[in-house]
């Protein structure tokens, strides 16, 4: 075939283009490996350093006095549980409610303002939320508490839940709402029992993802829950939390505490990874997408 291509791109150019293509592919693959390597390293290390110290005793005992071996993070685990429960009690209803408002009633300027504000809230650094809640609650109550910690984390949970609820509700086809309304179901009932119910899997996964995010947060708890070396189940007292404990132990000069920090980190990461994996499983089973 008369190759007019010889007027185009000498052999060198063609070779260079092919080389660039291959080089780019290799570079992209290489960067992917580079990015995933720390993931393996971190998980590997967590298991390597943490598994040894992780034991039933670790999960059920409170910290031992400085210098002594043994003890655990039971109070931190339970404390985190308390704080997170408060956070969800605050964040989930407000978040879902806001999401419902935005989806069902919020196609107006007020709705846009709420959306914008939720986005702003999402971007506020967690330490700033911490000091704001400190001023708002801790200063006024004159003591640290699990409650204030829960409020701080709950505030961080709201934007995620709001956004997700709105999106999931909007994905529910209008015909479903109309069918219910046409049967005489009042609007509020339709929204709750029909529309929300249909969107529920998606909302739940979003709540779980948000939960996973706040479960690991340390900064907002520094000046609210504050931490505690002993058992505390009262929400109005300083309370231990897993991330706080890990932080305190990590920066301490004691080897034993370092070991405990790794074990605590392993517990925390298992909790979070479990949540993420569960979310993926639910999504993969296809029950996320509201109604067909």
């Amino acid at each position: 075939m008369p190759n007019s291509a010889s007027a185009y791109g000498s052999d060198y150019v063609r070779w260079r283009r092919r080389l660039t293509d291959h080089a780019a592919t290799a570079a992209a693959a290489l960067t992917t490996i580079l990015v995933l390597a720390p993931l393996l390293a971190i998980f590997g290390y967590l298991i390597y350093r943490g598994a040894g110290t992780l034991s039933w005793a670790f999960l059920t005992r409170t910290p031992a006095p400085v210098g002594e071996v043994g003890g655990g993070m039971a109070n931190a685990i339970v404390g985190s549980g308390t704080i997170l429960a408060i956070a969800c009690a605050l964040g989930v209803p407000l978040g879902v409610g806001s999401g419902i408002y935005l989806a069902e009633y919020g196609r107006n300027r007020l709705g846009n303002l709420i959306r914008f504000t939720a986005d702003v809230l999402n971007g506020v650094p967690s330490i700033v939320v911490g000091i704001a809640v400190y001023a708002l609650i801790v200063l006024r109550q004159k003591h640290f508490s699990a409650f204030s910690g829960g409020v701080a984390l709950g505030i961080m949970l709201i934007p995620t839940v709001t956004r997700a609820t709105e999106e999931m509700l909007l994905m529910v086809p209008h015909s479903i709402r109309e069918a219910a309304l046409g049967l005489g179901v009042p609007e509020w009932r339709t929204t709750l029992s029909i529309t929300l119910r249909t969107a529920l899997p998606g909302v739940i996964t979003a709540v779980m993802l948000g939960f996973g995010r706040i479960a690991g947060e340390t900064a907002p708890l520094l000046f609210t829950a504050f931490g505690n070396q002993f058992w505390n189940l009262r929400p109005d007292q300083p309370t231990a939390a897993l991330p706080l404990q890990i932080f305190a132990y990590a920066i301490s000069p004691y080897d034993e505490w370092h070991r405990q920090a790794w074990a605590g980190a392993l517990v925390l990461i298992l909790l979070i990874v479990g949540t993420v994996a569960a979310v993926r499983l639910i999504a993969a089973r296809g029950t996320v997408k509201g109604a067909a």
């Binding site: 995933l36 720390p38 408002y101 704001a132 709402r177 900064a219 000046f223 990461i269």
Partner: protein
């Protein structure tokens, strides 16, 4: 289907994907109340108000946060004014509150993180969306999700015991001997310092930059890719010409979002930056960031002025991250609007 009764108190309003219709509220034949509201309508009204209250609470929370930040910093603002951010000495013991070292630390560590993270994140995004064979795709993106889910304190823990020794023993000496001429690597290689902070921040922000970049790349229409291929472009040329070019506003947005994240990061940075309020040219030197000084010194702050100064730092951090994030979202939105892809960050 119920008739379209326009009942007072329940005016027609737009709903999701709905043309303007009056809200049907009662089936034909049910007793209608000409005046006042029936129980059903009352319940609807109450429900709507309750949902509205939830929405308003979001606004209320942000207002409260801003209010408390301003209240808390009032003392410091009155005392120092804007000179607060130009002062280079932070010595609470003698009453000196200059926040420039923290600004410097935050900016430098974040920029360093960006320099390291952006090429990596773009590479991953290109790989996953264009090159990776299908079956691997889910695994890689799951791995990326996992990376994003690791809490800051655990990154910090790993950084203290693995990254810092690595830097101290291997990386920093190497940098000193090979790139020492740049003046960026002077001073003893502690391991702890600006470089460590930059590296751990980079690892932390790669997932978010990468996932938004992936979203905007996927939003580029197929026809654009085909236009390049049909012209005789290699795969990389097609990616460069059609995908990256078309998505560039969104990619910039993703990068800025990553920057926003880096600016506000607290725990991991605090654990490895050295916490010394100094401005040094060397990346090997310890530093301090806006977020770290609050984390370290807030509970120990003695005296109202000290505490107020920290509040003012918090306020500054708040304002900076808002502006950066708003800019980022604007850019991302401009590329992904009109597509069903979710146009928001995690």
């Amino acid at each position: 289907m119920s008739p379209h009764l326009v009942v007072p108190g329940n005016p027609a309003r737009p709903g999701p994907r709905r043309e303007e219709t009056a809200a049907p509220s009662r089936p034909r034949g049910a007793p209608t109340k000409p005046r006042g509201l029936s129980a059903g309508q009352l319940a609807d009204r109450l429900f709507r108000y309750a949902m509205l209250a939830c929405g308003l609470s979001v606004i209320a929370i942000v207002v409260l946060i801003v209010f408390e930040l301003f209240q808390g910093s009032r003392l410091a603002i009155n005392e120092f004014g804007l000179k607060f951010f130009i002062g280079t000495d932070w010595d609470p013991v003698s009453g000196e509150f200059g926040a420039l070292p923290f600004l410097y630390g935050t900016v430098v560590s974040s920029l360093l993180a960006l320099v390291l993270a952006v090429p990596l994140a773009l590479g991953v995004a290109v790989f996953v969306t264009e090159i990776c064979p299908r079956p691997l795709r889910a695994a890689v993106s799951f791995a990326s999700e996992l990376l994003a889910a690791i809490p800051s304190v655990i990154y910090g823990l790993w950084a203290i015991f693995v990254l810092v020794p690595l830097l101290r023993q291997d990386v920093e000496p190497w940098l000193q001997s090979h790139l020492g001429w740049s003046g960026l690597f002077e001073g003893p290689p502690y391991g702890i310092g600006m470089l460590a902070a930059g590296v751990i921040l980079a690892i932390m922000i790669v997932p978010i930059i990468s996932s938004i970049t992936r979203e905007v790349m996927v939003a580029v229409p197929r026809q654009q890719r085909e236009a390049a291929l049909a012209l005789g472009a290699t795969r990389w040329e097609m990616i460069r010409m059609s995908v990256l070019r078309n998505a560039r506003a969104g990619i910039v947005g993703a990068i800025i979002l990553g920057l926003g994240r880096a600016l506000g990061e607290t725990m991991a940075v605090t654990m490895v930056i050295g916490n010394r309020p100094e401005i040094a040219k060397s990346l090997l030197a310890p530093g301090y960031t806006l977020a770290s000084v609050i984390a370290n010194e807030f509970s120990e702050a003695t005296g109202d002025l000290y505490l107020s100064a920290l509040f003012e730092i918090g306020l500054a951090l708040f304002l900076v991250t808002i502006v950066v994030n708003a800019l980022a979202r604007l850019l991302v939105w401009s590329v992904t609007r009109g597509t069903p892809a979710r146009a928001h960050a995690q």
